[in-house]
């Protein structure tokens, strides 16, 4: 009986397992193998030997180090900021009575808009062309500042645009998740807290936050993973020659190693991919450990 049940359970899981196996586990193992094969050649499908050289090369490649730095800055700035801002907006949305649906729709719009289209909007906002300095620069100059080239200018300006953009893009999803989490908190807890004389701020920190903390952690974890995998957003703003712009990300580096102008190095790409995998795995495990300790709903 027990065995029969087990067997059935596995049978039901089989399609999913097969899919994950073929499209995720197998490639991962393959990449792992590639990453240890030195001087792999696509054309001849041959390699010189095995060892850690690919890792050593990648870890000493200034482009890779730049990409790692960019990615980390992006992650560290955008994940907390976007989650925090989304929380603020959601709490605001939750407390308005009129036009709630309208506002929710407005905030959700970017989610259904194409990344590249949003990228275009950012170009208009930030890019300096022969004809205009971009809207933001117009504002800056209007307030007496000097114009900055956000797309081809100094590193911090480009980073600012990238972070701004990333936060912008992930915001709708986070707001969606958080508003539904907020409205799922039972009204009676607020009533009880009110009778107990709890201040608004304490209600928020002691009741609302703990109750929606599983969702917040979910957003933080997926946010980390998403930000570590950033690539298309960067291309949307800075074009494909990211190394030259100094704005490459780890995924961008991997892509360039494979297909870029200087590409054709699957071994290096694989090594970089494995390093990314290790980073994401570590961060996620740490996140889960922390959340286990703190999230108890």
């Amino acid at each position: 009986m027990q065995n029969g049940k087990n067997y059935k359970a596995w049978l039901y899981l089989l399609p999913a397992i097969a899919f994950i196996g073929v499209f995720m586990i197998y490639p991962l193992i393959d990449v792992l193998i590639y990453s240890f094969e030195e001087g792999f050649n696509f054309a001849s499908q041959s390699f010189f030997g095995t060892g850690g050289y690919n890792y050593s090369y990648v870890l000493h490649d200034p482009y890779f180090l730049q990409a790692v730095k960019n990615t980390f800055i992006l992650v560290i700035i955008t994940v907390p900021l976007s989650t925090g801002i989304a929380l603020l907006i959601s709490v605001g949305l939750n407390s308005v009575k009129k036009f709630k649906e309208f506002f929710q729709t407005v905030f959700f719009l970017p989610y259904v808009t194409n990344t590249l289209a949003v990228g275009l909007v950012f170009m208009i906002l930030f890019k300096k062309t022969a004809y205009s300095d971009g809207l933001i620069n117009l504002l800056i100059t209007a307030f007496g500042g000097s114009a900055v080239d956000f797309i081809d200018g100094p590193y911090w300006a480009k980073m600012f645009v990238l972070c701004f953009y990333t936060i912008w893009v992930v915001m709708p999803f986070k707001i969606l998740i958080l508003t539904s989490a907020l409205s799922s908190v039972d009204e009676m807890y607020y009533k009880a807290a009110k009778v107990d004389g709890t201040s608004k701020w304490r209600i928020f920190t002691r009741i609302t936050l703990p109750m929606i903390s599983p969702m917040i952690f979910y957003l933080v974890i997926t946010g980390f993973i998403g930000a570590f995998k950033a690539y298309s957003d960067v291309v949307a703003i800075f074009g494909t020659n990211l190394n030259a712009a100094g704005m490459n990300t780890i995924v961008g580096y991997i892509y360039d190693m494979l297909y870029g102008n200087s590409g054709g190095y699957p071994s290096y790409a694989s090594a970089a991919a494995i390093i990314l995998f290790a980073i994401v795995l570590t961060i996620t495990v740490i996140n889960l450990l922390i959340s286990k300790k703190n999230v108890k709903a």
């Binding site: 009676m188 009110k194 009778v195 004389g197 201040s199 703990p210 709903a297």
Partner: protein
Amino acid sequence: MKVVLENLTKKYPNRNKKEGGEVVAVDGFNFEIPDGKLIGLLGPSGCGKSTTLNLISGLEAPTEGKIYFGGDDVTDLPPENRGVGLVFQNYALYPHLTVRKNIRFPLENLKKGEKMTNEEMDAKALEAAKLVQIDEYMERKPSELSGGQQQRVAIARALVKIPRVLLLDEPLSNLDARLRLQTREEIRRIQKETGVTTIFVTHDQEEAMSISDMIVVMKKGVIQQIGKPQEVYDNPVNLFVAKFLGTPPINVFEGKVRDGKVWVGPDAILDAHGVPDKDVWVGIRPEGVIPDPTGPLKMKLLNIETMGRDTSVVCKDEAQTGDSLRFIIASDAKIDRKSKTVNFNVKPYKAFLFDKETEERIKIK
């Protein structure tokens, strides 16, 4: 703390937009709750019990009327300044906090001047927990407690600040029958021990009757009757109250008064001196009859059930309203089980007449 409600009224805009207008959830309440008493607020679902509690607690503002605690007018005070403890129908324990932290929560909110140290709060919380006998479970989460235990935590949380008034909104509705009985005794004990003026909402009349010093019977936002449970039971002011109180429920017949006698079908069952001739409802409490072969009330006998110390006689009659008639008689009373009919004498003080139209009580002098 004496609680006085003065012409208390709450109107809600109708949720059903098509009908429009207003729903009067609480309609002109006037009553006074003596200090230290337990009041049972009783009525069918939707009659405005919770709304009344919310008004007293300050969670809702009344449309009209005033609320006094002792001599103070608290009508415009926010809930936290009224000093009420409120136990919700579903307890509303904070699921992420332990029992200790749940009970401590109201203390942690105290403003400057009343602020307590950590130790003081823990001591107070423990004291409240001991009162409701939940002190073994201080470090558990609400999800690790049974319904009855959760309910006691909720009461401890409501009591920890020593409220002037304790409000309980159907606190027993989630418990099974046995636990209900046990917990309601417990609530009574705690109330007696603390002497806190308590309002207890329920739609279970037995619950209200068994623990209240006074009951308030409501119907559609209007108070029907206020009094000691037994008084209300023995002297209902109208058919609604008579029907609402008592298990098994009162037996109601269609009847009429003619020439100073109460008639049910062809039987003149009672004297009714001084009552003018009219159509009436006749209500007879289940325990209001004595089997007697020569008795005036004659009905078809369906069944005789003996359950524990009670014998209940199930009957049928053309003039009955409701599905069946059920009378409780002494188990040693003689009754012919094989007979198709049964005759009863009616105890006059267990039978009530109500006007056919207004359903108001008609007193027999």
